[in-house]
Symmetry: C2
Subunit: 334 residues, 2 copies
């Protein structure tokens, strides 16, 4: 990081004039251990899972949309496909808990832990064994991606109903009341929002998750895709691969990952500030300042794929720019 910072100060621009690009480049150097890091090989890992609570009117879309969107991802027609293609990133789709049989689908990584979680308003969303299994799926998927060549990874999610467990997680960790961190997700109306807040309140009341025990929290009020992405984050950090965190659901996964393994924190890059209420509290818990602020609230890894461009710019500036002496440019006076 010191070498990267020193190099930044010799490049043909006023010191600090590339702001967050310079900060990001120094972070990348620290993560990778290289003073001139490359982020050429990029992947977005999208974990898909269903939620028992989704049948309780907490989402604007029916649960059938989860498997339908998985097929859309595989066909290349979803937003994450478009944005990953633009960013030169591959997309890996993982069925970690979709409540439907997807069959053999070319390109689908089938690692289903169960057909969706149990309804977290009635009891734990999953068993402790399921939570551990889902984290292991994330570790395994990251490991496979690493073996294919991986310089930069993004987290993405799909799961109708998954803002509800994410709100339950951030409410528990931040201590904020559920109404303060529960938003409209894919666009529920006022009545749907009231049902969501009530569902988060019930989930916390029924399960009493321990804010200081991330595994307990994950098991009781989490989701399979959240668990899997926590595994992805831990796996990436352990291999010194920078992880770009998407929005609200990925943020919940990052909170869980940082709870399980606090050492992951410096490996995280927050891609964007989501419109979803509660995301600000999540960024605060994680101590992260987002790269973009584009009023996004889609998930799938879309914000992270957009942020890839800025992260790559940071790496390229550090590696490709000429220094003052190379270019024969006069330095600052006085």
């Amino acid at each position: 990081m010191t070498a990267a910072r020193e190099r930044q100060d010799t490049l043909t621009k006023p010191v600090g004039s590339l702001g967050r690009l310079e900060e990001l480049s120094v972070q990348l150097a620290g993560i990778t251990g290289s003073p001139r890091p490359s982020v050429a090989r990029k992947a977005v890992i999208v974990m898909a899972g269903d939620h028992g609570v989704a049948r309780s009117g907490v989402s604007a879309y029916p649960p059938e949309v989860t498997p339908q969107m998985v097929l859309n991802f595989l066909a290349g027609g979803a937003a994450i496909n478009v944005l990953a293609r633009q960013a030169g990133a591959r997309v890996t789709i993982v069925d970690i808990g979709v409540a439907a049989d997807l069959g053999e689908q070319p390109g689908l990584n089938s690692r289903k832990v169960a057909y969706g979680t149990a309804d977290l308003t009635q009891g734990p969303a999953m068993t402790a064994g399921q939570a551990e299994q889902a984290i292991q799926v994330g570790l395994d998927v990251l490991s496979d991606e690493y073996d294919r060549g991986l310089d930069l990874v993004a987290t993405g999610d799909m799961g109708i109903g998954n803002t509800t467990p994410s709100s339950a997680i951030i409410a528990t960790v931040s201590g904020l009341p559920p109404a303060r961190v529960t938003g409209r997700g894919t666009g529920v109306d006022d009545e749907g929002l009231a049902r969501k807040v009530a569902a988060v309140e019930a989930a916390l009341e029924v399960n009493r998750p321990d804010p200081d025990d991330a595994l307990d929290l994950l098991q009781k009020v989490g989701g399979f895709e959240i668990a899997g992405l926590a595994g992805v984050i831990i796996g990436a950090a352990s291999r010194r691969v920078p992880v770009v965190i998407d929005g609200f659901i990925s943020g919940a996964a990052a909170v869980i990952a940082a709870g399980l393994v606090p050492q992951v924190r410096p490996y995280l890059i927050a891609s964007h500030r989501s419109v979803e209420v509660g995301h600000a509290a999540m960024l605060e818990v994680l101590g992260l300042r987002p790269v973009l602020d584009l009023d996004l609230q889609l998930g799938e890894g879309t914000g992270a794929a957009l942020a890839f461009h800025v992260v790559e710019a940071a790496a390229r500036i550090l590696s490709e720019m000429a220094t003052f002496s190379e270019a024969g440019v006069s330095e600052k006076e006085g």
Copy 2:
């Protein structure tokens, strides 16, 4: 624009969930007249010019840096070269008023109006004829770029001392006191900042530019690169090419362009919020909300080249995503 908005609402995502990408895509559709615009052919036009006031200690760098950086641009070693390359954009470098003989340089577009402006603290920065000539250079350069194929253009600047005329322009148009809109530019110290504020105050006192006459304002307290970029902006808008405005100096050019031809406004995209004091007032005058906020303060078109990725993402989302019916995904309930 209506067709683009209607298409956005049929794509496989909750309505509005891609926030500013959706807004930008609708703007692009309106600018280009195409409901599925493409921004494949991109260029950054960097105008370089010197400033008489630069000899008065208003910059942290000596004026020799302007021609040195032009050579650095031509060699491909500057930040704008790196970022334009990443964005798939060509870079056009124009000597519109560098105070040195650059000779015949491969790739340099030599359109010098004069060897730098006169010192705006002593009288008009340029003659009315020079101002018109410099605007014409911008129109000509844009026209040539358009003939090469151009879907998206960015403005970039190089000119030691050019935050001083830019501050004078925004102070005049906004009515704010010079101290409120004069910043540290490339990084002057407190004494240098005091000299800059005094220079802007003197420029306004000596020249009394008319805030309602953009040509008068440009001639008295502007710069050749600012005039040239105003021409680029007017030329692009007249050909229905969206223009991505870089930071503070490009913003001054946009203020001049919008003063000369108010119809350019809907063709403008503000790339980023600059650290430079006074940029906020400029964005307010222009009525623009920036795409990025990355603590940049370099110029050269760097912020605009970074924003190209987001603008391209907006266009691609509109063109490449599947609709609900194409993908067989259920729509929102109720």
